[in-house]
């Protein structure tokens, strides 16, 4: 296969401006565990960066630092030139389990953020209605979370993240609990929305195929302590559709990233042994 030199970008970039800049970040927990050590990389505006790495290498910790939900021990994180806490209104966080409020109906779950931000009711309801249409949930607006399938719950969670019109999306294994078919479908929808909305995305997953399908770049973290092992451009043309998964290029890319990831894991095994 021919080497791709120029990496295609689906979203036009602003002049090399790192929307998310992580510089020399170390995170130690009070109990003494070092979750991250001297981690540096940037995410440019409009990039879709996936984080891969063995369990416990600090992927979730890193996302929380970017969201300002936790603070660094050393180093700096800037989001759109601001501290993560100040940049929160640009950011939406989507968690692994749908984290819906069981006492709220679907529409009231989706409207939660707007409600907390005291958006007036008519605006709120209209926005929620439109968003439910976007994710195909208008029929279940009045249902409670316990009446939904796992895939539908995740859709609600995504709709809730999107109503506040974020520029930056942080997703922590959002589709881990879904079956492969729903996961593939959700991936395609996410990509469609990404191209349309031109978000900057950081996406944590354990699935190499998912990371390759979605990302412009993949950051592979090594554990104990968490550090950057590889930063890889994804050599796969845009736009990407279901068909992309059947191509040789795709398989090749998945193979390449998998080998890098396995290197990181077996390195760990050697250390332990």
């Amino acid at each position: 296969m021919a080497e791709v030199t120029q990496v295609e970008r689906p979203v036009k970039l602003a002049a090399n401006f790192p929307e998310i800049a992580i510089e020399g970040v170390t995170k130690k927990f009070r109990e003494g565990a070092t979750a991250l050590e001297n981690v540096s990389f940037g995410v440019e505006k409009g990039e879709f960066v996936s984080l891969l790495g063995p369990s416990g290498c600090g992927k979730s910790t890193l996302l929380k630092l970017v969201a300002g939900l936790s603070s660094v021990t050393e180093g700096t994180v800037t989001v759109n030139g601001m501290t993560p806490k100040n940049a929160r209104e640009l950011v939406s966080f989507i968690f692994q389990d749908a984290t819906l409020l069981p006492w709220r109906t679907v529409e009231r779950n989706v409207g939660l953020g707007l409600e907390l931000e005291r958006v007036a009711r008519p605006t709120r309801e209209e926005t929620v209605r439109q968003m439910l249409k976007v994710v195909g949930l208008e029929k279940v607006a009045k249902r409670y979370p316990r009446q939904l399938s796992g895939g539908m719950k995740m859709r609600v969670s995504i709709a809730r993240a999107l109503v506040s019109r974020p520029r930056i999306l942080l997703l922590d294994e959002p589709f881990a609990a879904l079956d492969e078919m729903s996961r593939d479908r959700m991936n395609e929808e996410l990509l469609r929305l990404y191209l349309e909305q031109q978000w900057t995305v950081m996406f944590v997953t354990h699935s190499v195929a998912e990371a390759v399908f979605l990302s412009t770049r993949i950051v592979i973290l090594a554990p104990h302590p968490g550090r950057v092992a590889h930063v890889e451009e994804v050599r796969l043309p845009w736009p990407r559709t279901e068909e992309t998964r059947m191509t040789e290029e795709f398989e090749h890319e998945v193979g390449r990233i998998s080998r890098l990831l396995r290197g990181v894991k077996s390195g760990e095994a050697r250390e332990v042994a």
């Binding site: 929380k64 969201a67 939900l69 968690f95 984290t99 409020l101 709220r104 953020g113 907390l116 409670y144």
Partner: protein, 263 residues
């Protein structure tokens, strides 16, 4: 639904059989009525003295309700404080558990000494016995919110008040209702215990507890039985009222509180 009716019918049959056995045994063994009256004598006492029985029943119910409502209000308020200020919780929570271990019969006379006989002090005894389960359960629900849900609220710049009232409090509702259910059962016990000490300033006008004491002193054993039965009924009413409230408020979204027969 059919199954439940069947079970209820069975329980009723067993109950009626017991009454029959009891009546026959009392007759056959010539047990004196002041030791153990038969169910017919008890039923007669209920009918003949229905007025005073009802009065005692309602008075005890009132005391128990006041104590219970106060324990809900104070318990929820204290739990909200505990959830908001963890230092406060760490310092004071052990004392609420301690309160639970103090035998209520030991402090009832003290309360009476301080507050004097009457509805207030009896309700206070009921309140004290109800408070620990309210606090323990509600606090548990308030603090056991998943971290990611708190993060979600923080991402939307929620104030601490919004986190408390729109996340922690609704999350704690199932626990709060467990507290209410437990407290509703023991509120009646608390009120009756209180009455045993508080009594009434006028003969024949006290609640169930006072009347039980009085009836036993007078060897009115048939009326005593009627009073005990009334106390049991009152306990049941409280318990089921608690269950109903729980179902009413939670059945839409909470698995544990949906009736088996739904859907």
């Amino acid at each position: 639904m059919k199954r439940q009716l069947w079970l209820a019918a069975n329980s009723l049959v067993v109950f009626l059989l017991l009454l029959v056995v009891w009546q026959v045994a009392v007759k056959a063994l010539h047990v004196p009525a002041y030791m153990l009256p038969g169910p017919r004598a008890v039923a007669r006492a209920v009918v003949e003295r229905f007025g005073s029985l009802e009065q005692s029943f309602l008075l005890t119910a009132e005391e128990a309700v006041v104590g219970l409502l106060a324990s809900i209000a104070v318990g929820v308020a204290v739990s909200l404080m505990f959830a908001q200020f963890s230092l406060l919780r760490r310092v004071l929570y052990p004392y609420t558990i301690l309160l639970q271990t103090v035998p209520i019969v030991a402090i009832a006379p003290l309360i009476l000494m301080w507050a004097g006989p009457g509805l207030i002090s009896v309700a206070m005894v009921a309140f004290l016995i109800c408070l620990p389960p309210m606090i323990a359960n509600t606090t548990q629900g308030l603090v056991s919110v998943e971290e990611n849900l708190v993060h979600l609220f923080l991402m939307h710049k929620a104030t601490p008040m919004q986190v408390l009232l729109q996340l922690r409090l609704p999350h704690a509702l199932p626990n709060l209702f467990v507290g209410i259910r437990i407290s509703a059962g023991i509120a009646v016990i608390g009120a009756i215990t209180g009455e045993l000490f508080a009594g009434s300033s006028r003969v024949g006008e006290g609640g169930l507890g006072y009347s039980i004491l009085y009836a036993s002193g007078q060897l009115e054993t048939d009326y005593l039985f009627a009073l005990v039965a009334a106390a049991a009924v009152l306990g049941f009413v409280f318990f089921f009222a608690g269950m109903f409230l729980e179902w009413y408020f939670l059945h839409n979204w909470h698995e544990g509180s949906r009736l088996e027969t739904q859907e």
